[in-house]
């Protein structure tokens, strides 16, 4: 087996393993974290510290009755949970987790698919998420689900504009769709002589826009109107049970991981951290790069959990006002300023 093929399979195996572990780990973090914030215990019976709770949940999902409402549109009803998982998982193919390494005389890039379209592919796959919600709500033929899904569609497309514009602004000084080049741009040099050359420093506004939009895109509180337990009884996935419900659950956490990873790569230097030496044996280099990226993504995931249990939910008109009247003009302004600074030679 050639080095290139082995490397490709290893990289795919690594991402799939990590991403499938995201959901059980995050389910535990979320429940224990919320318990900590609300001054209660949270799950602590299954395994030490309740760590095996996710395993027990998985077994429960497997054995639960699987309901398909008789009024449902069956093909679409089955398609929706599949769309929740597959595209969110696939976005990671363009994400670099380390510098180029030398293995057995061959140069290997530490990303699964080295393609020109990079960020475009990432955004295209990530925005397939809206179909999940729309199809789930529409095909269930349930009033709560339908309301949840039209809300979800309106919310996601409203915030996608601001999200995309902040990504464009981050690409302007780099001049490439490739995420590995985006990281390399942030590796070289410093800002003001002591700050790492990460995009977040000159583009802090862009980062804030991205972050707020990311919360809305993943339907997390304070933007969880499509689910809104108290009024829509879970919204678009009211009619889902058993493994299909579990897939929505996984899709939500994977979407969070996706956008956290994009935020880390675009604004926080991806696998780069100042002071870490990325030379030496290839396995050590790869491990260092992956660990740094992993730590950054984990930090964003914790922020997602923290925010969820801290802020109340928006009203729908407030949500749209924030998206269209605040974030969109700010995102356009951010893009113009960044472009002007780049032309001026500052960035």
């Amino acid at each position: 087996m050639s080095v290139a093929l082995a490397a490709m399979l290893a990289k795919i195996g690594l991402w799939v393993a990590v991403l499938l572990a995201v959901t059980p780990v995050m389910a535990w973090v979320e429940r224990r974290g919320s318990a900590m914030i609300q001054d209660r215990l949270g799950p602590n019976r299954v395994g030490p510290l309740g760590l095996l709770q996710a395993l027990a949940d998985a077994v429960k999902f497997l054995f639960k009755e699987d309901l398909t409402p008789s009024a449902a549109d069956k093909p679409l009803y089955y398609l929706a949970p599949a769309l929740a998982v597959v595209p969110a998982l696939t976005t990671f193919v363009v994400l670099p987790f380390g510098p180029e390494i030398e293995v057995g005389g061959e140069t290997v890039k530490l990303l699964v698919a080295d393609v020109e379209s990079g960020v475009l592919l990432f955004l295209a796959l990530a925005s397939l998420g809206v179909y999940t919600l729309v199809l789930a709500g529409y095909s269930s033929n349930n009033k709560y689900s339908l309301l949840g899904s039209v809300r979800a569609a309106a919310q996601m497309i409203s915030y996608e504009l601001a999200l995309t514009l902040s990504v464009v602004a981050a690409l302007v000084p780099v001049g490439s769709f490739r995420l590995d080049e985006v990281v390399l741009y942030q590796v070289e040099g410093t800002w003001l002589g002591f700050l790492p050359h990460w995009n977040v420093f000159p583009q802090f506004l862009g980062f804030l826009i991205f972050l707020v939009a990311a919360f809305a895109e993943t339907n997390r509180l304070p933007f969880d109107l499509p689910e809104a337990e108290s009024e829509l009884v879970a919204g678009y996935h009211t009619e889902y049970s058993s493994m299909k419900f579990a897939l929505f659950f996984m899709g939500e956490y994977m979407a969070m991981a996706t956008l956290s990873a994009l935020a880390a790569t675009l604004f926080f230097g991806g696998w780069h951290f100042p002071g870490i030496d990325y030379t030496g044996h290839w396995a050590i280099v790869a491990l260092k790069g992956f660990s740094v990226l992993f730590a950054k993504v984990a930090a964003f995931m914790l922020l997602f959990v923290w925010v969820r249990w801290t802020f109340p939910r928006f009203r729908f008109d407030q949500l749209l006002r924030l998206g269209w009247k605040v974030l969109l003009p700010l995102a356009i302004l951010n893009l113009v300023v960044i472009a002007a600074l780049t032309i001026g030679g500052v960035l």
Partner: protein, 118 residues
């Protein structure tokens, strides 16, 4: 195109995982209860009508149309951002004019109240 091959492999792995989990659930679970369980959930009431017999607010449609307009704008922005160095000052001024025209449209939409909910 060979660079895109790993993506296909990745999607295949994801689909395999999906199929495995759904098939495992199908083999393991109980057969289920019958007709009443399959009615649309409505907090215990028997539904008089189905969801798709109803209409929803036209506002959602309006938002979708506005999204298409502004999304087309971002489609033009992407190639410009990537070719930023080559296009230099000319490209910058061109794009500022393009954005200015769009902002005029944005202000019009705002003044007409299309961005207000109810």
């Amino acid at each position: 195109m060979a660079n895109y091959l790993p993506i296909l492999v990745f999607i295949l792995v994801a689909v395999l995982f999906l199929a495995a989990s759904l098939i495992a659930a199908r083999l393991l679970r109980d057969a289920g209860m019958g007709r009443t369980n399959r009615e649309p959930y409505e907090c215990g009431n028997e539904p008089e009508t189905l969801a798709l017999d109803h209409r929803f607010s036209i506002r959602y449609y309006l938002i979708a149309v506005l999204f298409v307009i502004f999304d087309v704008e971002t489609v033009f922005l992407f190639p410009w951002a990537v070719m930023f160095d080559q296009l230099a000052l000319f490209g910058f001024i061109e794009m500022m004019i393009f954005i200015a025209i769009l902002v005029v449209g944005y202000i019009y939409v705002w003044k007409r109240g299309a961005l207000n909910w109810a």
